[in-house]
Every structure is written in structure tokens, then in C-alpha cells.
């Protein structure tokens, strides 16, 4: 895109991720996060040019659930606003496109999900082909286990390697005050072979928000904006039978279009809810040991469904804000066994520039 506007993530906030949050409604869970991210920029709701959110009615257990959280935004006087029934990473993508049109200079993006009221393994089966697959109720862990076994059968990973990913993620999460699982966690018993408790994400509730800004507005709002150098996403076929589960061509394609392979990144925040999925993503993204993967602990430390992908973008941006990264890759996923993937490349300007 010639002459495209530069857009950056200028602020990020997230809730503490909890196994249960019975005492909070979604609105009560989201509001402190919204206030926090606005406070970081000094903006009020009325200063925001465009608002976009990501969430799922199936988690909330009611139709039009996002109408309630909109009340929490304080949409009065009326605001320019939209919603994706997807992870908030895709809400960020929609907001980025909106800023590129020039119709807005700032955007508020938020996402939330409460998995605790139901059985998220069962709920996610409702994403599957409703005629042939969903009636069999294959749950999300069982499908991920198929993928993990395919990796082992192909000689790409083994169970100790997966356990190592889980251990590294949770020890990294020790520095993350919002993480749900952190520290030394035993790999535990098999949930669905070859995946053990430790290979699986915690089930939890949480919310996240970011603010995007274009050009000089970004420089006013943030000392070191995390510039979005590229962002793209791609979807694969739904049926697991027609996909090579050891590979993620949609991730590779999105990364290519986002410019991820043009220069090395120093950090990668990958949305890999299962340890085995990190193996697939590292391969698709050509990440070697020089890249710091999931310093936040990743989805193995906290996986609030619908917000976990947006959190990867936020964590990557926050490291750039803090000067801990100069060029970071952020990834989000949706659907069974990494069906749909989004990749963004974020950069901070050199300090001497």
C-alpha cells in the first residue's frame, strides 16, 4: 500500500485472568480494563474515533451479549462502533483498516470472554460442521490431541519436548501479574493422550483492550508507539481430514503478507493454547531459538477465549512500549486445530532516531 498511514498500538490493558468470576458480569469485568487503557492515554470515550470489540454469544449464553458491554463503554453521545463475533485480534484488524481509510485517527478495541459458566470443551464443539461433525461432540482437547499425535508420528516432537514448552511458558508467566497459571506446574495426567494437563490451557475468564492511533496522534499518546508494520490473516478448510495438521499454511501466508520474513523479529507472542500448537507455529513462522517466544507465558498461562489473541498483540506492543523489544511478531488463532490465523508485525522506532 503506497502512502498508507502509519498506525500503532499506543496502550494495552488486561484483567487478571481467573478460573471463575461468578461475582462479576461481563460488563463489570470489562469496565476496569476500558478505564485502564483510556487512563494510559488520557483519552475519554468521546475522544475515540472508532470502537470495535470481539466476543461470543455462545460463551455468554445469550443472544446479542455484546450490547451489554457496549453500555460499559459509555456510548453516549452515540459513537462509531462495530463488533466481530471473533477473537478481539480480528476486531483490532477491523479497526486498523478503519484507521487506514482516514475516517478515524484513534480506535478503542476490546475483547472479553467468560468460560467459567459452562464447559468450554463442550461449547467449542458447537463451532464444528453442524451436520456431520458437531453431532459427535468431539471436544477441543480431543481435536488438539489429534494434532499433537500427528506431530509425534511425524517425528517433529515428542512428549518431553511438549512438556518443556509448557514448563517454559509457565515459568515465563511468573513475571506476569495477570497470568492465571504460573511457576512450576507438574505436567500431570493425560487429558487426552498424548496431551497431559500441563499441555492444555487453563480455563478462565478475562478481558483486554488496546488503543490504536495513526501517525502523529500515536506519538502524542505514547512515548514509544508499537507501529503496525503489517497485519494479515487467513483461514483454512474446516474439515481436519483435508488439512495437514503438522503444518499451518495460513499462518505462514499471513506472516508473509504482514512482512514478518523481511527481517528477523526479537519477540513472538503466539496464541498457542496447546503446547503442541507452539511447535506447529514456530515451524510455520521460521522462529529459531534467538526469538523470545511468549515472554508473557502465552495462552498456556491464561487463555480467556475471545480475548487471548488480542492479548498477544497487546503483550507484544507493551514490550515495545517498555523498550524490551524492537520488532515483535504477534499471532492469534481461531477454530479447531489452528484453522484461522492472524499475524501482525510491530516495531518501535530506534531510540536515537
Amino acid at each position: 500500500m503506497p502512502d498508507a498511514r502509519d498506525v500503532a498500538v499506543v496502550a494495552f490493558a488486561q484483567s487478571d485472568h481467573l478460573r471463575r468470576s461468578d461475582e462479576f458480569s461481563e460488563v463489570e469485568m470489562v469496565m476496569p480494563v476500558l478505564h485502564e487503557v483510556l487512563r494510559r492515554t488520557g483519552l475519554g470515550t468521546g475522544d475515540i474515533g472508532f470502537t470495535c470489540s470481539g466476543s461470543s454469544d455462545y460463551l455468554a449464553g445469550r443472544a446479542f451479549s455484546f450490547t451489554m458491554t457496549l453500555d460499559g463503554v459509555g456510548a453516549w453521545p452515540p459513537i462509531s462502533e462495530s463488533h466481530v463475533e471473533m477473537d478481539g485480534a480480528w476486531a483490532l484488524y477491523e479497526a486498523w483498516v478503519k484507521l487506514l481509510t482516514g475516517e478515524a485517527d484513534t480506535a478503542l478495541v476490546y475483547a472479553y470472554g467468560k468460560s467459567s459458566p459452562g464447559q468450554v470443551r463442550d461449547v467449542l464443539t458447537r463451532q464444528l460442521d453442524p451436520y456431520y461433525l458437531a453431532p459427535l461432540w468431539p471436544d477441543s482437547v480431543a481435536l488438539a490431541a489429534l494434532q499433537a499425535q500427528a506431530l509425534i508420528d511425524a517425528g517433529i516432537a515428542d512428549e518431553p519436548a511438549l512438556a518443556g514448552i509448557a514448563a517454559r511458558s509457565r515459568s515465563s508467566a511468573a513475571d506476569n501479574p495477570h497470568a492465571q497459571l504460573k511457576g512450576s506446574i507438574p505436567s500431570g495426567q493425560y487429558v487426552v493422550q498424548p496431551l497431559r494437563t500441563g499441555d492444555c490451557p487453563p480455563v478462565g475468564d478475562g478481558a483486554a483492550a488496546v488503543i490504536l492511533a495513526a501517525g502523529d496522534r500515536a506519538r502524542e499518546l505514547c512515548d514509544r508507539p508499537a507501529w503496525i508494520r503489517g497485519i494479515d490473516h487467513s483461514i483454512e478448510a474446516h474439515s481436519l481430514g483435508v488439512r495437514d495438521l503438522t503444518d499451518s499454511p495460513s499462518t505462514r501466508l499471513a506472516a508473509e503478507r504482514a512482512g514478518a520474513f523481511e527481517r528477523p523479529v526479537d519477540t513472538a507472542e503466539l496464541h498457542a493454547p496447546f503446547s503442541s500448537q507452539e511447535v506447529v507455529l514456530r515451524r510455520a513462522l521460521n522462529l529459531d531459538d534467538r526469538v523470545r517466544v511468549n515472554p508473557s507465558g502465552g495462552a498456556l498461562a491464561a487463555n480467556p477465549v475471545m480475548a487471548a489473541g488480542l492479548i498477544r498483540l497487546g503483550e507484544a506492543a507493551a514490550r515495545i512500549h517498555r523498550g524490551e523489544s524492537d520488532r515483535a511478531l504477534a499471532h492469534a488463532t481461531s477454530g479447531p486445530c489452528l484453522q484461522q490465523n492472524l499475524v501482525a508485525v510491530l516495531e518501535g522506532e530506534a531510540y536515537d532516531a
Binding site: 502512502d3 498508507a4 470502537t51 461470543s56 454469544d57 455462545y58 449464553g61 445469550r62 443472544a63 446479542f64 455484546f66 450490547t67 451489554m68 457496549l70 453500555d71 459509555g74 456510548a75 453516549w76 453521545p77 452515540p78 459513537i79 462509531s80 462502533e81 462495530s82 463488533h83 466481530v84 463475533e85 471473533m86 480480528w90 484488524y93 477491523e94 483498516v97 478503519k98 487506514l100 481509510t101 482516514g102 475516517e103 461449547v123 467449542l124 458447537r126 463451532q127 464444528l128 460442521d129 453442524p130 451436520y131 458437531a134 490473516h233 487467513s234 483461514i235 483454512e236 478448510a237 474446516h238 474439515s239 499454511p249 501466508l253 481461531s334 477454530g335 479447531p336 484453522q339 484461522q340
Partner: protein, 388 residues
């Protein structure tokens, strides 16, 4: 750098019916998408991205259906977005797709919205009990009837206006081969004699439950130059949202609707919508919303909308035809209803609306709303490219 102009070069709909038992959800959406591709004389390979919308997942009992529908919509290997903004979603989906073109992120985008209401029960989908939150009361009609009554009280509109709208829209639908309800023996007396459902809303003044899908191909200036048939050009588009309910909310004429229309008119350079717009496809699920939205959208002064309706201005051969397609009152696959409004507005300015074509329609408005009259999406399309 100015935005890329956006053109509609392909439109496809299914024949909307109460139940499409002959196709799956995937089959239904593919039918509309294939017709839009045919209209544009393009193939699946020409599409850079897919933007899909529908109303709540509970209506079909399928969570995040874009995942399952990726194959049917030729999206494999492409970006696919799923928009959900309640009843306005069909309009919002088209606007999100248009931004992909306007920002030059993509050249040609397929956008589609659908609902297959026969797979489930919309009333059930809207009636899940949640503690401390207001459910929609006895479906949407129960929620909106008090606002209609407030409109009548505020404006002094005679109680016959609603039936005039229903009679007009159902007659218009007879000219639209894709419309769900084709009531050949319709008379004004039949509308007025139909049972009262939610006073003052009668059975014949409500929308049906439909299965259906609507698709559009949006493209840039280069794509429009290659189009085999006249494109519709986007002159303005906007979304506005306000909270569900609060003390200051005007349910009869929500501020978000006024602001949204004002933004679209500003973009399109429209100073007097009543004179400068030739046709309107308006989201009217209950007949009384025609006069209400005529005021909200700036076509009539406050309290005067019902007079336009009563005097025949909004008839197909009137000075400002509203819902020449038969509207939501005749066809309501909820998630698709907003996109049908946008698509029908585009058909009018392309001159391809067939029997329900408004003569010399050069500029048309597509309008959608949703939630508790809180989400609004609109676009204005024209036969000529926008001035740049």
C-alpha cells in the same frame, strides 16, 4: 491520500422462503455468493477477502459459523471476517467490506449475510433468561410496540398509517421475485382485519421469519472499469451505536440514527435528502417504523413522517419510494435483512431492479438498525462515481 472509491459490481440473493429444507447453511450461502459472482462475471479466484455477517449464533445453533463456511465461500487461503452487530449486521458487514476496498487493503471483496431461521427458533434465541438483564419481551414485537405507541401519541398519527405501510410493502413484494411473502390477494381491509399481536401492531404489520442469503461483490475503481454491468458507487457509509437503555434515550427517534444519517449525507454532499434521494430501502420490521424512520433519517420534520406515508409519497410510483423491494416486512432472514436493504439500494441505481425499479433512480439510501434501536448502519449509493 483520498480513499479508494468503492463500487458494487455483483449482487446475488436467494429466493427467500420460510424454510429451505433442500440446502444446508453452506448450500444457502454459496447460492447467493455464486449469483453475485455471476452478476459481476468474476470467479472465486478473483476474490481477495470474504466478510460475512449474520445475527446471533443462537438462531441456527452454530457458534462462529464462518469457520464451517470457509470452504463454501471460497475463503480457504484468504482473509475472512465475521461481523455481528445485531439486526443492523447486514449493513455493518457491507460497510466493513467496503473499508477493505476504500483503504486499498484489498481490491475485490465478497461480502455476504445470511440467516437460516428454520434451523432453529429465533424467539427462543432471543429469550434466554439472564439474571439482572432485560430480556427482549416476547420477541422483538413486544420490545418495539411501546415505542410505536409513543410515536402515535407524540405525533397524533391516525391508527391507520401502519396498515398503509404493510399494504404497500406487500404489494411491492409481488414485483420482487426474491421476496419471501407473495400475498396475491392482499387488500388494505385484510391487513386491517388481521389479529392484533402486540397492540398497536397487527399480524400483517410484522415481518416473517425467512431463510435467505444476500451477497455483494465490492471492488475498486479498476475493478469497476472491468465490470460487465453498471456499478453502483458508494457515496457515503457510516455506523453509529448508543447504549441499550438509559434515562435520556429517545426510543422513537434515537440520536444514533440521526447522527448516522447526518454523517452519510455529509460524505455524499446531500443537503436535502427529501429532494436529492430517489429511493430508500429502509429497515422496517414493523410497519410503523416507516413513518418513524422517515423522521429519524431527515426525510420529514419531526411529527410529519406519517403524513408522507399517508399521502402516498412512499409508494413505488410516489415521489420518494420506500422499500420498492417489499422490505423487511415481506422478507426477513434477520442477519441478511440489512444487507438486502443495501443491495436493493444498489440495484436501484444500477437500473437492475426489474419490475420494482424506481424510474430514474440515481441516488438511493440503504438503512439498517438493530438491538434495542441502538445500532445503525447506512450507505448511500449512486449511479455516478463520487466526485474526488
Amino acid at each position: 491520500m483520498p480513499k479508494e472509491p468503492v463500487a458494487v459490481v455483483g449482487i446475488g440473493q436467494t429466493k427467500h422462503v420460510a424454510a429451505r429444507r433442500d440446502v444446508s447453511i453452506a448450500g444457502l450461502v454459496r447460492e447467493a455468493a455464486a449469483r453475485a459472482l455471476d452478476d459481476a462475471e468474476l470467479t472465486w479466484a478473483d476474490i481477495d477477502a470474504v466478510v460475512i455477517g449474520k445475527a446471533p449464533d443462537f438462531f441456527e445453533g452454530l457458534m462462529m459459523p464462518e469457520l464451517y463456511l470457509a470452504d463454501a465461500l471460497g475463503a480457504v487461503g484468504k482473509p475472512m471476517l465475521r461481523v455481528h452487530t445485531a439486526g443492523s449486521v447486514g449493513g455493518s458487514t457491507a460497510l466493513v467490506a467496503s473499508n477493505l476496498v476504500a483503504s486499498r487493503v484489498h481490491g475485490t471483496v465478497l461480502t455476504l449475510a445470511f440467516e437460516k431461521q428454520s434451523e432453529s427458533n429465533a424467539m427462543w434465541g432471543l429469550s434466554l433468561p439472564i439474571p439482572f438483564q432485560q430480556p427482549l419481551l416476547a420477541g422483538a414485537g413486544g420490545f418495539f410496540a411501546p415505542h410505536v405507541r409513543a410515536y402515535m401519541r407524540r405525533t397524533g398519527a391516525p391508527d391507520t398509517v401502519g396498515s398503509l405501510v404493510a399494504y404497500k410493502d406487500r404489494r411491492n413484494a409481488l414485483k420482487n421475485p426474491y421476496a419471501h411473502l407473495h400475498e396475491h390477494g392482499i387488500t388494505l381491509e385484510k391487513v386491517q382485519a388481521s389479529p392484533m399481536l402486540w397492540d398497536p401492531i397487527r399480524y400483517s404489520e410484522t415481518c416473517p421469519s425467512s431463510d435467505g442469503a444476500c451477497a455483494m461483490i465490492l471492488t475498486d475503481r479498476a475493478g469497476a472499469a472491468r465490470a460487465p454491468r453498471p456499478p453502483a458507487w458508494m457515496h457515503g457509509g457510516a455506523m453509529r451505536s448508543e447504549p441499550t437503555m438509559f434515562a435520556g434515550k429517545d426510543f422513537v427517534s434515537p440520536q444514533a440514527g440521526k447522527d448516522c444519517a447526518a454523517d452519510v449525507y455529509r460524505q455524499a454532499g446531500i443537503a436535502d435528502p427529501r429532494r436529492e434521494i430517489d429511493a430508500v430501502e429502509m429497515y422496517v420490521p414493523f410497519s410503523w417504523y416507516e413513518p418513524m424512520w422517515l423522521e429519524n433519517l431527515g426525510f420529514a420534520a419531526e411529527g410529519e413522517g406519517w403524513k408522507l406515508t399517508e399521502s402516498g409519497v412512499t409508494e413505488l410510483d410516489g415521489d420518494l419510494p420506500v422499500n420498492p423491494s417489499g422490505g423487511v416486512l415481506s422478507t426477513n432472514p434477520i442477519g441478511a435483512s440489512g444487507m438486502i436493504r443495501f443491495a436493493e439500494a444498489a440495484l436501484q441505481v444500477r437500473g437492475l431492479a426489474g419490475e420494482h425499479q424506481v424510474e430514474r433512480a440515481r441516488r438511493a439510501l440503504g438503512h439498517a438498525y438493530g438491538g434495542g434501536a441502538q445500532f445503525f448502519a447506512m450507505w448511500l449509493v449512486g449511479a455516478e462515481p463520487p466526485a474526488t
